[in-house]
Symmetry: D2
Subunit: 170 residues, 4 copies
């Protein structure tokens, strides 16, 4: 797939860096290629469900981000994405020293982009096992005014070079 914006890597990196929740998880943007994105996250006690493994919500967040940024990599300059919906199936327990999500675009579109992502558990020796798989719909957000949380007045994220602020979704 051919990116419409040669600066797509910077655009994705800036959006990723602006996510307070990615910082909270300790998630790391590993790589972005046209139509692809990899994100990983080390296991720690703050990410567990009630059996001491990765919470399903952590794996889902990583997969959602991997899909969203895979979609964003193909958008024209200033293009941003919103998650319309996704479905995730959990195949094996979330037991590993790290979780790795790899997202890819199945079908790009001007408005909607359909993506999939696999989430693997990585053990101490680096071996990976498939733990979850996602199918997601992402929507290109009109780059108009990037809104702060209107209900809280939460500090707005400075727009990255080459991006404009986006309006509220659907």
């Amino acid at each position: 797939m051919t990116p419409a914006d040669p600066a797509f890597r910077d655009r994705v990196a800036t959006a990723f860096a602006a996510q307070g929740f990615a910082r909270t998880l300790g998630a790391r943007l590993v790589s972005v290629e046209p139509g692809r994105c990899e994100i990983d996250c080390m296991f720690h006690d703050g990410l567990t469900q009630h059996h001491g493994m990765f919470h399903a919500g952590v794996l889902t967040t990583l997969a959602d981000n991997a899909c969203g940024f895979a979609a964003m990599s193909l958008l024209p300059p200033g293009g941003e994405v919103l998650s319309v919906e996704f479905k995730i199936s959990f195949l094996r327990p979330g037991a590993g020293v790290a979780a790795v999500a790899r997202g890819e675009v199945l079908k790009p579109g001007r408005t909607l982009t359909t993506c999939r992502a696999d989430v693997h558990m990585r053990d101490a020796s680096g071996r990976e096992t498939l733990a979850a798989t996602m199918l997601a719909t992402m929507m290109a957000a009109a780059p108009e005014a990037r809104g702060a949380n209107p209900a809280t007045g939460a500090r707005d994220i400075p727009a990255a070079p080459g991006t404009r602020r986006i309006a509220a979704p659907p």
Copy 2:
């Protein structure tokens, strides 16, 4: 719906308290009734996506927990749940001072329980707006041995009174 275990509230509260990720979010178990569960979470900068609103992964985690604990409330003593899969649709931006997820059981079963959850945004005046809706499949986990993360040796969660340890899933 009639609970099979009169101590279902304690069982759910113990499991919720054992989730490191719920603590990381600042999520709060508001209520558990037979086949129903409500969980909420105040907005803060550590929960944002790249536009300064609630990350989709936060809303998903709250909804997953609300579905899982609604299912768990109907299980016999010692019964625990695992998320098999879920799908969530995002209807409006995650903009609010708090997010509130309400889960309910659509169809209980010995092995599988189908649930749904709505996630509302709450504004400063307490008014709520529907932001997302989930459809989920939960699986009753055989209460045998509750495993620590085998890859990390992460500290095991002490079993609650009336629960036993559960084995790895499907």
Copy 3:
């Protein structure tokens, strides 16, 4: 919900009548209200899966149609819909003398409409049991040129009064 087109019932009825597959099933458009649609279908031997009950694909088709036409009822004159995606959970066996799907709009939008539908089994006494539930995303199709199947040259459907032909999707 307020319909943008007072002739929404005719528009939906015309689209429903144009579905060869609805005729094949023997499906019937029971009612259309703003943001709501009900469709039913009598059981017969041509609709079974391998245990002699309604095939999951039949229930899914009814639910997809009920969601799609619920969405279509709120669109402006000429507006048509396409299914972007859906997820359906099967709660009980598809055993009944008829299946009844009721769809409703959860969140209308200019481009995307999120819908849900329940599918009930009806027995000989008219009693209903919930058999399946769907969550769906529908997309408004630009009313430009309603395409025949380009690969087959299949006979085009005459456009209804007040509709225009629509172009291919996303």
Copy 4:
């Protein structure tokens, strides 16, 4: 993947032949391998949505069957499957002379099997285009008593050699 039943092909072929709905569509069981299944269906006027293309419900039925029989191929003798739930995303219009669904098992299990399927459109020259993709959960049905539709008394399907009748689901 290794089949637990050397006669898995016969078992799948018998179940497929017992589906009244597959006959109604004109669907054809192309191939079954351990953990894989391909089903196709020629386009005709009885399978259309309101724009003269394949109805989403047809593509979904083919994908559901391809997933279900891929799962069934790995079950022990007598094992049958029920669809627990699935999600399907539609990527391109259902325009072709035939639709081809290919299902595969992502994760087999004693109780639950997670599958995926792609549905391609085939044009007159045999070229294929991806039109839809499904993620599905299948459940192994206890081979006890294969039920007729209790509400209709519809003619029961004769059990295949090596199969027993199955009980009602979850």
